[in-house]
Amino acid sequence: MQPFLTLTGIAAPLPIANVDTDMILPARFLKTISRTGLGEGLLHALRFAPGGGENPDFILNRDPWRGASILVALDNFGCGSSREHAPWALLDYGIRCIVAPDFADIFFGNCLKNGILPVKLEGCKAQQLMDIVSRPEDAEITIDLERRLVLTRYGQIAFRIDAAHRERLMTGADEIGLSLRHADAIADHERRNMANAATVHRIAAALGA
């Protein structure tokens, strides 16, 4: 996972509440066994007209937002399906940071696992930022994770983030490797709870495995 320290880029306003993961990446793009190449399907119904051509009015099809690496959104961003293909599609398109008042739980966690920084900003601050980045000349902003700041040319907005989340993003840590350091504690738990697995072999037998 690519560490996230500081990001300077174009921020695109997406003033839609409850952007769900079906909207971020429609189901038909999930038929892949790879993590890459999903950018094409990102926000597909918004970016493309039903016939297939680009929807010229959509923010990501207009300059300078076409090259956005940051999204500024509304409440409950990423609700719905747990598909990690949604953050993979964002990443593949080039989005590394999403600013919103509130995120759905599973999507929030999925972003952290992929080096995408989800920034929670109170509603009025998020709205303020959305107004700023809606102007082409002000769309470029900086996200400084180390200092926990969003920097615009009009000033800076502080944000809060869980210390553990911040550290993992900044180091790009291998979480599985870290968890495996607790293999002894996991094995202890398994020894104390043998009953948990006492009957699973019957399921395997029922399945003919």
Binding site: N18, H189, I203
Partner: protein, 471 residues
Amino acid sequence: MTGARTLYRKVWDAHAVADLGGGEWLLYIDRHLIYEVTSPQAFEGLRAAGRSVRRPDLSFAVADHNVPTEFRAGGLAAIRDQDSRLQVAALEANAREFAIPYAALAGPHHGIVHVTAPELGLTLPGLTIVCGDSHTSTHGAFGALAFGIGTSEVEHVLATQTLVQKPSRTMFVDIRGALGRGVSSKDVALALIGQIGTSGGTGHVIEFAGEAVAAMDMAARMTLCNMAIEAGARAGMIAPDETTFRWLKGRPGVPDGEDFMIECARWAELRSDPGAVYDTMVTLDAAAIEPMVTWGTSPEAVTTIHGIVPDPAQEPDTARRAQMERMLAYMDIEPGRPLAGLPIDAAFIGSCTNSRIEDLRAAAAVARTGTVANGVRALVVPGSAAVKRQAEEEGLDAIFRAAGFEWRDAGCSMCLGLNPDRLRPGERCASTSNRNFEGRQGPGGRTHLMSPAMVAAAAVAGCLTDVRTIS
């Protein structure tokens, strides 16, 4: 940990393996359910890192999202879509390589993972259960802590049998009194979401309780917990009781004989202590809940069957007004229009929310009163091969077929556009599924969520209608 604890906290405490600091813990996972869409990249990651599956015996794999609901006997070869076939083939190969129990596509235990896993007795009170699917919350109906995860977490569970977690906040939803005739747990779930919104439960685990919940059968409880995610909650839970124990008895993964009695006594302890404190309390009056239908593209855009489409002009908040306008334009309905009488093109009875035998019985009771209206395509898709067998033994398939419904093989079907069952652009569907998002049932498709009996009533009437006026 001492003092009065919630059901959630009891299950959490029994699985907290290591304190990672900063409020994070390593939580042990008792059951890992795996399907074809969100797992291939996890297995690939495992191979790339030279890791193995720690507990294949606690894992279970089945293909459900991609599978066509016709020509099942043909197995893998009958999946005509190349990408879908490749995903299912990858699941089969991964299950074989890592010795994970796999329910074969044409076998007797195939089904939607959240239907078939409880049937096998994989789901037990007090367990932690995860799956790379948000509707894993379903299994909380048994007093398990069950929640959906992303693919990176699937890989983490495969490698470590644990997850890095912080304790959630807790919400107590007290559903007082008795549900009226023709009102189901789907209506309760939609009424709750209408009340607290789709982000009302964010950061919470919901515990459902009250007289109405105590009176529900396990299928109804699974529907309720299934929809907890649509209220934003990671998990829903219901304390196990005699209804739970009766349902579990005799299933392959459930202890039997004296062990069953011992387990039941232990499971009976899995309830919140008197005086346990919740972060949020919500009360619903069961008797006041009516059959519900959604009108927009979020489950919170919901009203009763006697409701009208709301008018965005009346909404003072600009962001909410814009969202309503967007929803009405997508759904192609006008403000002020009554929901009852809205013509439909399709009816779908199925999905992990409402495809169990009890759901099919409720739908069949309505279907037998008439025939599917002209021009309406109506599908009944059992949640598992076992549900299908049971329904056929009871003659439900004959009722549905005689009424003009298509009777299919198990799978996720028209809940999401990943298999051949999908809406065409502009089609309007009465659906027992869980999400009415834009394009969810197929690009351009329009979804109205409701209960199985309400969908059957709509299929027969050709429009949204109050099931209570039919049966």
